[in-house]
Every structure is written in structure tokens, then in C-alpha cells.
């Protein structure tokens, strides 16, 4: 029998500590929708998405009511559009983005991911077309998210794609200039991208996945922070143990909701993404966990070590709680979406360089970072190359979601609203990386042995 303490603990986690299921994401394969005629292909895509995801939102709301756990987002990911659109006789893939937008609106989801291409070793015609279509697609739609994988540990780093993505990010910012470059918040450049990630903007339905699948992403930085605060002056080994136990409880909720959602929608359950995903809400911050661990401000020396402990403990606790853990699984450190990160940047405690170091030991990478609007494409490409190198050498996922905010300078703010939050514009190095980036080619895959 459950004890009153246990019941109250769960209720408190939801009501006071922002425990929620961040997303239920339905992955849908649209590989069977390819057609030489783009009109037919997009009609097939629209029909398949709206058929399979028709009940996604109602089922999510039903679970929310029955279990009393908020499910913040219901979303959809589809096969990388480059793979499907390539068969069509057109160079402009905007039509595909428009179709995704319409299908997402029809079933009532707020984001749909998969306007994507995997180009870590090279680009096909379809990949080029997709990448070229990204700025228009992101500017003219609300819900569509794009991602491009430019590197893997097995293939190395495709520097031609990295440079191109630097230009694409600049162009996307330009086309959405009146909204501070919002388009860039829906575009992620990856190294070692996972194929079952339920979190936006980087979600797509991987090629090894079944026809349709349900993945969930949990959250709960507030719950972990509360546990760390409560632990007061214990040593770091004990603290890791406490975080593990807390992560276990958080992940169990993802497992429960994922299994139930999959059963009710009659599709297989994929994975739980064991992540700490912050929001701009007060008390829902990863930075504040690091500060509760004893750092005056996130970004102070020791932040990388504290984050490493946190990330590892979250994974260890989460693994035991779920039959299938996947996706990104780790702590996210976006700037604009985390109130504590924003304060740390404002206080001058957290720089781009420190964030880069922190991405070596946590999930994802440089996320939701605003830089001056006049940052050259080559510098953005070089930032992507640095992150990709960290991922490729360390056999982990890394990513860059960066916003060169048009017309903004260091110290200005960008404002996206909602879960995307707001961010202070951060300085980048003013020294040029152009000659390096323009060399192109591919940085070879690293050694998989002799690791030191």
C-alpha cells in the first residue's frame, strides 16, 4: 500500500515543482509517400499524418486528466523530408513544409519535426534542395521544425555542409528579421543525431524506426532542484545518489504515460527520453540546479563538473525506470529557455566559451543562443564545426541552435515568447574563421581506439 508521504510527494512534484511530461511525440514514417509528382506526394503525406495522428491530442488530454500530470506538448516527427521529396520532380521543397504545417494544424499539434536531411558524409540532390528550402520553409510556417545532421563519429564532419548551414542560418534570420530571427529557433544542426528524439526542434522519425511509434520526453528540473536544496550540505557522492533517485521517479511518469498513450493509440511504444528540459518558468531551470549544488552563478568554475555529475546521475536513475531509454537523454542547457541561464549571462558569469565546455558533458549542445546580427556566416559555421568536433570525438550527440538576431548587438535582447523564451545577445569572437571554414571537404572520422 502506498504511504501518505509517497502520495503527497507525487502531488507536490506536480503542483509545486513543475513535474510534467514535456512531450508525447508520435513518429510517423512517410517513406511510402514518395512520388514523382510533388502534388501527389504531399497529398499522401497529409493523408497519412492526419490519419495516424488524428487521436494524438485527444488521447494526450485524456491521460492528462486521468493521471493528473500535465502533458505540455503533443507533437509529431516524420521521416527526413529529403529522403521522401527527392523522388519528386521539383527543386523547391517549400510545398512539403506547407503540407507538414497544414497536417499539424489539422490534428492540433504545436510543432512538427522532420524537415530534415542527413548529410554527414555528403549531399544528394534531395539534401541540397531541402537545405536550400529551409529559410523560406521556416519563415513561412509556424509549426515546422528543421534539422540537418552534418557529422557522425563514423563519418567525420562534412565541412561543406557545415559552411552551407552557416549561410542558411543567416538567411533564415534575415527572412524572419521582424521577429528577431525566430526561424533559427526552429533549426538545429546536429552531430551524431539520434533517430528517436521526441524533443523539438531536432525531432525526426529515423530510418530504422517502425511505421508509427510513440516516444515521450520527461522534464523536471524543478523537482531535482528541490531535492538538491533539501539535501543541504551532503557530499557530492551522496548528492549524486539523491539525484539518481529523483530522476528515477520523474522517468517513471514518462514510462507510464508513454505506455498508456501507445496502448490507447494502438501503436508501439518507442522510448522515454530521460532529459531535464528547462522552461522559462520560475523554478524550472537547470542552471538553478547547478547553483543549488553550490555555485554562486551558473558558469562559474566548477559548472562543467557539476553538470557532469547531474547529467550522469539523471541517466543512471532514468535507465532503471524505463524499459527503453533513448533520444537525447541528458540535461539541456538552452539559454533563452532557462531563467537561470539568462540571469547567469546577464551577470557576466556565463559565456559562449563556458557553454561550449559544458556541452562536452551534457545532452545536446549550444542551444537557443542569440549572437549579434552581423556575425558572419563563416563564424557561425565555425561554431557549428567546434560543436560537431566535440560530438564526433566524444561519441555523443551535439547540436547548435543559434540565432544571429538581425540588427541586434551585444547587450540587446531577443524575444520569442512562450516556451522559446527571451535571451540576451552574447558576444562571439571577433577574429575570423573564414579561411578555415571555406576550405570545405570532410574532417575524417576519429580513432575509435587509443583513447586518451
Amino acid at each position: 500500500m502506498l504511504t501518505m508521504q509517497e502520495i503527497l510527494e507525487t502531488i507536490k512534484m506536480v503542483q509545486e515543482e513543475h513535474l510534467d511530461i514535456r512531450t508525447i511525440t508520435m513518429g510517423i514514417s512517410i517513406r511510402d509517400c514518395a512520388h514523382t509528382n510533388p502534388q501527389i506526394a504531399t497529398q499522401k503525406i497529409y493523408d497519412k499524418i492526419t490519419r495516424l495522428a488524428q487521436r494524438l491530442v485527444p488521447v494526450g488530454e485524456e491521460l492528462e486528466r486521468e493521471f493528473g500530470i500535465p502533458i505540455v506538448n503533443k507533437r509529431i516527427s516524420v521521416s527526413p523530408i529529403a529522403l521522401v521529396a527527392e523522388a519528386s520532380e521539383t527543386d523547391d521543397y517549400y510545398l512539403f513544409a506547407e503540407t507538414l504545417e497544414k497536417a499539424a494544424a489539422e490534428v492540433g499539434v504545436n510543432f512538427i519535426g522532420g524537415f530534415s536531411a542527413l548529410v554527414h558524409k555528403g549531399l544528394t540532390k534531395g539534401d541540397r534542395n531541402l537545405i536550400d528550402s529551409i529559410p523560406h520553409a521556416l519563415a513561412a510556417t509556424e509549426r515546422v521544425c528543421a534539422s540537418v545532421n552534418v557529422a557522425t563519429s563514423k563519418a567525420g564532419i562534412n565541412m561543406e555542409a557545415v559552411y552551407r548551414m552557416g549561410e542558411i542560418i543567416k538567411e533564415t534570420a534575415r527572412l524572419t528579421a521582424e521577429r528577431d530571427g525566430l526561424g533559427c529557433a526552429k533549426l538545429v544542426v546536429f552531430a551524431n543525431v539520434p533517430e528517436d528524439n521526441p524533443f523539438m526542434a531536432g525531432a525526426f522519425h529515423g530510418v530504422g524506426e517502425p511505421d508509427c511509434v510513440i516516444n515521450t520526453g520527461v522534464s523536471g528540473p524543478g523537482v531535482v532542484k528541490k531535492a538538491v536544496v533539501k539535501a543541504s550540505d551532503c557530499d557530492l557522492g551522496t548528492l549524486a545518489e539523491i539525484i539518481k533517485k529523483t530522476a528515477f521517479k520523474i522517468t517513471r511518469m514518462g514510462e507510464l504515460i508513454g505506455r498508456e498513450a501507445a496502448a490507447r493509440l494502438n501503436v508501439p511504444f518507442g522510448i522515454v527520453d530521460v532529459s531535464l528540459a528547462p522552461t522559462p518558468a520560475i523554478g524550472d531551470s537547470v542552471a538553478e540546479i547547478l547553483e543549488a549544488m553550490g555555485l554562486e552563478r551558473c558558469g562559474a568554475h566548477g559548472s562543467t563538473a557539476a553538470l557532469a555529475l547531474l547529467n550522469d546521475a539523471v541517466k543512471k536513475g532514468g535507465l532503471m525506470a524505463s524499459s527503453y531509454v533513448g533520444g537525447l537523454s541528458g540535461a539541456f542547457i538552452p539559454v533563452s529557455e532557462d531563467g537561470g541561464m539568462i540571469r547567469a549571462v546577464e551577470a557576466g558569469a556565463l559565456s559562449l566559451e563556458k557553454l561550449e565546455a559544458m556541452t562536452c558533458v551534457c545532452s545536446v549542445g549550444l542551444d537557443m543562443i542569440a549572437v549579434p546580427g552581423d556575425t558572419p556566416a563563416e563564424t557561425i559555421a565555425a561554431i557549428i564545426a567546434d560543436e560537431a568536433a566535440i560530438g564526433v570525438i566524444n561519441h555523443k550527440t551535439t547540436a547548435v541552435r543559434i540565432i544571429p538576431a538581425p540588427g541586434k548587438k551585444v547587450g540587446d535582447y531577443v524575444e520569442f515568447g512562450g516556451l522559446l523564451g527571451h535571451a540576451p545577445v552574447m558576444p562571439t569572437s571577433t577574429f575570423s574563421s573564414a579561411h578555415f571554414v571555406r576550405r570545405g571537404g570532410r574532417i575524417p572520422a576519429p580513432l575509435h581506439s587509443l583513447k586518451n
Binding site: M1, L2, M4, E6, I7, L8, E9, T10, I11, E62, R65, E66, F67, G68, I69, K249, R252, M253, E255, L256
Partner: protein, 98 residues
């Protein structure tokens, strides 16, 4: 606690948080009995000056579903100036038991 062998499919947990006053249990029990929902266990305590009641109930024979019960209890909660919620028991079992 002799109820642990019964099927658990329809067990729910009602939680009441707020200022203590006369008739809280009666009000909740009234709603449950009207809809043929069996109370299995009640515990209550005062936590940081806040009245807290946890009630475990079985909806096996109930004539309403969980969503409807939730609406009824929340409405009653607003009348009494309390926060009353009901959740499926699985949420708690899943979090605290393997």
C-alpha cells in the same frame, strides 16, 4: 489495509488541500457515495498549517467516469475554498513501486 488483493484497475486517489473546516470529509464522501464509489482508506494530517486529506477509492461499480468525478470534486472544492483533485492510482504506484 485489507484491500490490497482486490483488482487495482479502477482505484483512484482523491487529494484535498487547504484550510481545515467542518464538513470536508462529508462533502467528498457525499459525492462518492452518490455515484457508488467505494472508499477504501482515508488519512488526514495538518502539514504546515494546511489541511491535507488523502482518500483511496474504488470506481469499479461507479456510474460515472474519472473525468466526470474530477469535475464534480473540483467544483465542490471551489465551493469550499479547497483544492480537491482525483488521479488514477497508477501514477503513484508507478512512481514509488517497481
Amino acid at each position: 489495509m485489507s484491500t490490497s488483493n482486490k483488482p487495482r484497475k479502477n482505484r483512484v486517489i482523491v487529494s484535498v488541500l487547504g484550510q481545515d473546516r467542518v464538513g470536508i470529509i462529508a462533502a467528498v464522501a457525499q459525492i462518492l457515495s452518490t455515484h457508488n464509489i467505494n472508499i477504501l482508506d482515508i488519512s488526514q494530517t495538518i502539514m504546515q498549517d494546511l489541511f491535507t486529506m488523502i482518500l483511496i477509492a474504488d470506481m469499479e461499480m461507479s456510474d460515472i467516469d474519472l473525468a466526470t468525478l474530477k469535475d464534480l470534486l473540483q467544483k465542490k472544492g471551489e465551493e469550499l475554498g479547497l483544492k480537491i483533485d482525483v488521479q488514477h492510482e497508477d501514477v503513484f504506484r508507478f512512481m514509488h513501486r517497481i
